[in-house]
Amino acid sequence: MTDVAITTLPPAPLHAFEIWSDPHGVAGRFAAAFGADLPALGTSVQAGGLTLIRYEPTVWLVEGDASTLAAVLGDDGALTAIGGGLVRVRLSGSGWRELLSYGGQFDAFAPTFAPGSSAATVIDHVGVRLWVENADSCVAYVPASFGAALVHFWHEMAALVRA
């Protein structure tokens, strides 16, 4: 019925980029440095070799070499490495939204959940952060300790849904 591939991606440098003061100043410095706006909640931006995905009101997940962001933040926030704790799992193929409908209460088919969107939710009791890479692919950032269990769940569901 549907087609979906589940791929565990290699570790990548990931940081939490948190702003605690002068958000507009930080946004201005970011725009000046990267030629793009800091993404709003539930969206992402790719610029300067970085992917910034905003999952929280004050926190962005940064994938890539984040060292250049320290200057953007100045004294208005902090960067903290978190890449050791997250496994990236790519769900690709036309069936990824269908697969995400299993084991959770998240509307993966919502028109607003379009390429570039992000959302955090719970799948099969595991808190995951989702990022729509493109129409045919979604990346899930999964707590590393649950990674194997959730990947197993997805494989099991995908096989049964496909059947």
Binding site: L38, L41, E56, Q105, F106
Partner: protein, 87 residues
């Protein structure tokens, strides 16, 4: 399974949220001991509407205040609580 309209994320299922306490039970750490204990240990527990602190723990992790009816379960309002950058 409520639908909670997170001011940051939009409508989401209750399973992403956790209830923490009624707003009346927020105790500042520097409150006088007697006041703090009163706030901690006595509750209005109304059979009706109350303002409650919830957290979108498995979503955007932000804290919210829900105005919720404890009999009908209708949620009249949701507002953000806490710092919000670029909001």
């Amino acid at each position: 399974m409520y639908q909670i309209d997170c001011p940051h994320c939009g409508p989401r299922a209750q399973s992403e949220f956790t209830f923490d306490r009624p707003v009346e039970a927020i105790v500042p750490p520097d409150a006088a001991a007697a006041d703090a204990l009163q706030a901690l240990y006595t509750r209005t527990n109304p059979m009706g509407v109350d303002d409650e602190v919830w957290r979108h723990t498995y979503g955007c992790r932000a804290w919210l205040v829900l105005t919720r009816d404890r009999v009908s379960h209708a949620i009249d309002a949701v507002r953000a609580l806490g710092p919000e950058a670029l909001s």
